[in-house]
Symmetry: C3
Subunit: 296 residues, 3 copies
Amino acid sequence: VEQVPLVTITTDFGTADGYVGTMKGVILSIAGDARLVDISHEIAPQNVRQAAYVLYTAYPFFPPHTVHLVVVDPGVGSARRPIALCTPAGCFVGPDNGVFSYVIAREPVEAMVELADPRYRLPQVSHTFHGRDIFAPAAAHLAAGVPITALGPPVPDPITFPPPRLEVAAGSIAGEILHADHFGNVITSIGQLVWSGDDLSLEPAFPEAGGTRRERASEAHQTGGGGAVRFQASKATVVVAGRDVCGLHRTYAQVEPGQVLALVGSEGHLEIAVREGSAAQRLGLQPGDLVTLRWR
Amino acid sequence: VEQVPLVTITTDFGTADGYVGTMKGVILSIAGDARLVDISHEIAPQNVRQAAYVLYTAYPFFPPHTVHLVVVDPGVGSARRPIALCTPAGCFVGPDNGVFSYVIAREPVEAMVELADPRYRLPQVSHTFHGRDIFAPAAAHLAAGVPITALGPPVPDPITFPPPRLEVAAGSIAGEILHADHFGNVITSIGQLVWSGDDLSLEPAFPEAGGTRRERASEAHQTGGGGAVRFQASKATVVVAGRDVCGLHRTYAQVEPGQVLALVGSEGHLEIAVREGSAAQRLGLQPGDLVTLRWR
Amino acid sequence: VEQVPLVTITTDFGTADGYVGTMKGVILSIAGDARLVDISHEIAPQNVRQAAYVLYTAYPFFPPHTVHLVVVDPGVGSARRPIALCTPAGCFVGPDNGVFSYVIAREPVEAMVELADPRYRLPQVSHTFHGRDIFAPAAAHLAAGVPITALGPPVPDPITFPPPRLEVAAGSIAGEILHADHFGNVITSIGQLVWSGDDLSLEPAFPEAGGTRRERASEAHQTGGGGAVRFQASKATVVVAGRDVCGLHRTYAQVEPGQVLALVGSEGHLEIAVREGSAAQRLGLQPGDLVTLRWR
């Protein structure tokens, strides 16, 4: 596999205005042979947490030399720092507003810098479009081989937000809804769930917080008399707003079209779905809503 | 023309969630120099027939070494087979659910296999995202030069759905609406219509069924005393729900803005349009509705 | 930087139907190594002025060897000419309907031709999809190195529309709304505004008309006793429909979330915004509405 510069782009810009195309023009003016891949441009305006989630689902599937450019930037023009960071799973460029929280929680950070060197910005920097003037040039230079340390001084204290709710007790795990996708499938913070035979076990998705939680989890399990969190899938029920909404299955095809089910989604998180329908709409669920997985 | 690996992608995933980007990451991890082209990600959820139609309009315009990846897959996780097929007009990868019906009807199939060999899947296959775990890797390997027969055993009996309605009688052709596009232009199964002077003649779009139909057509014409189906365009009228809605023109510009017209669309099918407006909205038309083209 | 053929695409086709993908197939069948970048496919149907604006914001950021393909073509199938033009800032391919007005106003045109030579079209040209049959092939051949003069005879008289309103008086500039973007930011024709310390000065965006206007501007200023149009930003107010709506700031971050402000947008035009909200919605503004910037 030849190693062409590869840049992914995630924004809340939509695709109607030409803003994304403009950033691509900037990148291709600097790294003429770069390959560009859109992750999403339909992040809800200024929704940094949604961008962090979408990035988390996609970046692990790209080659490690990929530069992931993320511009969801409510603080553009304020004192918030523009940053870049590199990990063994790829480099990341964007505003220092928490959008890389899940990356930082999961990957060892090799270097993190502020995008301060004017040689790696456009000659004129606007007050409103740092995606074009600061972030796209930095991503292009990184992808083209400029070492990250050339872009500016180290950032020892990036902004990160706390990991999403994940509380393990005897016989239950409580979490929250992270995302409702295009199909109306609702993805929760209860993950990652791993099948082993007919049982599921929990390996918390965001290890930084996982430490504490794993302890809490085993404490809980001590009450129940166990070690790691592990339970029989067929005995589990999903509870939302005090109501049992469905059991846990392996695939959509195990229920009839129109029926509600829960399953382990493609990122290993508990997901609530309606076969050939929308769970978000049917159950009125939204990001932030509390979900509990309960078993006996 | 240098022959770079070329993969097109058609899904019902939308572009908000990062699912398409994730598949592209998988493809580029396997075939680093692949060129990727989006056909559509706005197929209505689980609408296999719409995907088949959109693919049919696009694939003939790509180089023959292209791999067309289609993931509209209501049966993900069930027993439906993942397949690949190669024809002189390109290779195709996706679920065995009829989505390649129009391709199979129009192109000689050189090989068709089930995507069974685990070497050409991701190491872990989820129950809900075969686009990422099975189909994208297969498309990438095919595009990179792996022979189709390496991917798995032959499939002699793919699922196909019957071709859309196309019934020729003396002085009329009956069909159905296949698709309403972004502009509200309504494309019917009455095709392919070919201009010759001021006349139009019919060459059924899907030859498998075309055999029967051509016979029926000439039978009908025998009633009228003719050979192939051929009629004078200026004498033709489009009838929907028992009502004459418009005559047949060559271009939008032949009527005033806001007026309803029919013409031979860019794929050679009868199309109902409103100049600078939406025929789907104005006439309340939907896929599946019956349309008749009548002449004297 | 290696010079790979680079083609951008701007249409009103949407992305659901496969029309854009089909054009890409045509381009890659002719120029197999071309790089393709989408600018926008969500131009409002047949809205030539919006396409002209979006193109104007994007093309200057692409390498000069880029071919910009624009297909917003209400006159498809009529006598309107298909054209191509080259400038030091890139080449442009599309219908002769005014969509290149802003390019022609800003860049010296080196050559402009009608796309008449059938060798650079698809063998069969439909009456409804010149994007596929005429424009995409022309863009591909140009990008692959065919000289523009080979494509057809010179066009000495392209259609252009008058530049948007920009009227300078003593103590005010009147303009109109050009575009409301994805965020609800409203961009006006009052530009380009350039900061110098705490002052702003005006350099009309479209020089052809700028001549007259600059004169009018200095005339106006002679009344006020000055030379070029220059004013203190902190004294300026934006007036819409006779009402003062906001003052002028440097960045979104200078006001509270939810507050209305004006600023100099990323293309140098006066922009009305709501921090983390939609000005278009809040103030009920639309393209074509009159906006005045007033100072003492």
